[in-house]
């Protein structure tokens, strides 16, 4: 099975600070890590390879330092990886991101399965997986929590979590899935993997390399603009009611009526 895993480098939540006055993240001194759900995506790819054989490739769109994320993925056992990087990609929204990733995937060749995390912990839209599937013209199953290979790898049976429960879906490959943390427990790197990662040559592809039109990438290709960012204020009040349970219930009903809720 030929598998492509999309991973994103995100700021390490444990080192991020927030500038309260400006309402923005302080990005200096913040370390980058692989988006947590993307570890599950990598693990899903590796587990499938362990089971049915094949090849796992990873790709990321990001600055040149995103090579670190690819090296880490190689230390975990993926076969190869690329960074799609170009100044022109800066400021991409999900529309431009999926365009770029789709171009890169098509450039790499045909895949049986594309795996994304459910969402990135910084951008948080959960749109890249589904958007990418549309661009690639393949079916998409989101929020996968369990996975089974059918018909020698021609099909997958997937458990997809929904608000009211779950769906069991069968999908023919090629397809794209986005995965949840509950799907698996990511493995640790191996020593042989770490050594291979250290030496690995990680190709960097530019907009031109993947044949992307500059008007469709980065800020230029992004109809969405963030106008302002504000910090939500939290002004809920808390009050402890005293007395016997009956008295407390009476007091509560009184308060709810007062507030016009009852």
């Amino acid at each position: 099975m030929k598998i492509a895993v999309c991973i994103k480098q995100v700021p390490d939540a444990s080192t991020v600070r927030f500038d309260k006055e400006k309402g923005t993240l302080v990005r200096e001194g913040v370390e980058s890590v692989i988006n947590p759900f993307d570890y599950n995506a990598i693990e899903a790819g590796l587990a499938l390879k362990d089971q049915v054989g094949g090849e796992v490739s990873v790709l990321t769109m990001g600055p040149p330092q995103a090579q670190d994320a690819i090296r880490e993925a190689i230390s975990l056992g993926v076969d190869n990886g690329i960074v799609v990087s170009d100044r022109a990609f800066a400021g991409a929204d999900t529309l431009a991101t999926t365009y770029t990733l789709a171009k890169a995937i098509n450039k790499l060749g045909a895949f049986d399965l594309v795996i994304c995390g459910k969402q990135a912990v910084d951008g948080d839209t959960a749109q890249v997986g589904p958007g990418l599937a549309v661009r690639l013209g393949i079916p998409c199953v989101t929020c996968v929590d369990d996975l089974e290979v059918l018909e020698d790898g021609r099909k997958l049976r997937l458990k997809r979590m929904c608000e009211q429960g779950y769906d069991i879906v069968e999908v023919e490959l090629p397809a794209l899935i986005t995965v949840l943390a509950s799907l698996n427990i990511p493995r640790v790197p191996s020593l042989k993997g770490k050594m291979r990662a250290k030496k690995a040559d990680i190709p960097m592809l530019s907009a031109e390399d993947i044949g992307a039109e500059t008007s469709k990438v980065g800020l230029a290709g992004s109809p969405t603009q963030v106008a302002t960012t504000t910090v939500p204020t939290f002004d809920a009040k808390r009050e402890m009611l005293e007395g016997e349970p009956e008295e407390q219930v009476d007091a509560l009903i009184g308060k709810l009526k007062e507030a016009g809720i009852l």
């Binding site: 493995r187 640790v188 191996s190 020593l191 042989k192 770490k194």
Partner: protein, 388 residues
């Protein structure tokens, strides 16, 4: 943090990073539960296997990475920061594997080591018996030749990973009247006819490690399972222990470091008499002694490990030192850690209680610390006699 530069190679740094990651992500979150339930850490063994750590000390021609004593010490030091029961389970497999590595024939190495390197099979080392601890020459297990077979009888006691391991290296008497020269080493496999497991011990510490009896009742094994030559059993056992002891020292260093880390963190935030207790000189001095002795122990372990890796042949005294000092340090430091945490240190809610319980084993197994002193003392006597 100022750190001693031990001039590790890039590969050694990788080993440290990887084992530290496993300790933080896989061991620390479950160690209290494993200890409480006396649960064998199979999941973590699978992680260590996936990480290639069982391959560390095995030569490349048998599927290993060809590392030495130093690499092994670096790995167990980091794992021991998490839990020494888990680390012992890992290290005991090397203890059981060394006799095959050092004295096995090429066929024996080909047959057993690749699975050991891949972490598919654990190995155990069986020397101790009820009446033969420090005095290993007193073992009563016997092995008798019978056509194409050896027939083993007797009981081994307190064997780490007994019942869980697939491969056992066993020392048994083949010529009782020859004393120490009458012992021979064998490879026994789980499932061999007449080989079963007895009592599983309940222990003060090291509770996630399995310590169990091995029972041989007319256990028949093919002739080619003999390791080395007939009568070489004690030499094999002693060479194995010599090679493994710096690793036990490294476990002591890791455990002591973990106890120091907990102690400093706690002392900085615990307020009594209106100030953090680290501001009291009595506490500071304890921490200073802990930190200094740990660094001295680490330097000793690394120096001895490198001496062994450089090809020194005569290292019994050195490896005894590299086990003795760090494990005494570990006992002292973990005891002091409980003292610094006070009543909280005595509670199971904090990790130092387990660390102190666990530390005690390091002064007992793989030769008690009294026996290490005997080894060192006897070596000194010999060395100075030669200088005469």
């Amino acid at each position: 943090m100022s750190k001693v530069n031990y001039f590790l190679t890039e590969e050694q740094e990788m080993i440290v990073d990887l084992t530290r990651q496993i300790t933080e992500e896989k061991i620390i979150p479950v160690r209290a539960e494993l200890d409480r339930n006396e649960e064998f850490p199979w999941d973590i063994m699978k992680d260590l296997a996936q990480a290639d750590l069982f391959a560390l000390y095995i030569p490349e021609e048998y599927g290993g990475l060809g590392g030495g004593t130093m690499e092994n010490c670096l790995a167990v030091e980091q794992l021991a920061r998490g839990c020494i029961a888990v680390t012992t389970t890992f290290a005991a497999s090397a203890l059981g594997g060394y006799p095959i590595l050092l004295f096995g024939t090429d066929e024996q190495k080909q047959k057993y080591l690749p699975d050991v390197a891949a972490g598919k099979k654990l190995v155990a080392f069986g020397l101790t018996e009820a009446n033969a601890g420090s005095d290993a020459a007193g073992i009563q297990c016997t092995a008798v030749e019978d056509g194409d077979y050896w027939v083993l009888n007797g009981t081994k006691q307190w064997i780490t990973s007994g019942g869980e391991a697939e491969i056992y290296t066993i020392i048994a008497m083949t010529d009782r009247n020859k004393g120490a020269r009458g012992a021979t080493a064998f490879i026994v496999e789980k499932g061999d006819e007449g080989f079963s497991f007895g009592k599983k011990e309940k222990k003060m510490g090291l509770r996630a490690s399995s310590t169990r009896e091995l029972v041989f009742n007319d256990c028949r094994i093919p002739k080619d399972r003999i390791l080395g030559r007939r009568g070489q059993g004690f030499i094999i056992a002693m060479r194995t222990l010599d090679l493994a002891r710096p690793g036990i020292g490294a476990i002591g260093v890791g455990l002591a470091q973990a106890a120091l880390d907990e102690s400093v963190k706690y002392a900085r935030q615990r307020v009594q008499f209106g100030q953090p207790i680290i501001s009291f000189q009595a506490i500071q001095h304890m921490l200073a002694d802990m930190a200094t002795s740990i660094e001295a122990a680490r330097a000793l372990v690394y120096a001895v490990a490198r001496t062994i890796d450089a090809g020194e042949k005569n290292f019994s005294k050195l490896s005894a030192m590299a086990k003795l000092f760090p494990t005494d340090v570990a006992m002292k430091v973990t005891t002091d850690a409980v003292q610094i945490l006070g009543g909280y240190g005595y509670m199971q809610d904090y990790p130092v209680e387990k660390m102190m319980r666990d530390a005690k084993i390091l002064q007992i197994y793989e030769g008690t610390n009294q026996i290490q002193r005997n080894v060192i003392g006897q070596a000194l006597n010999k060395e100075y006699a030669k200088e005469g």
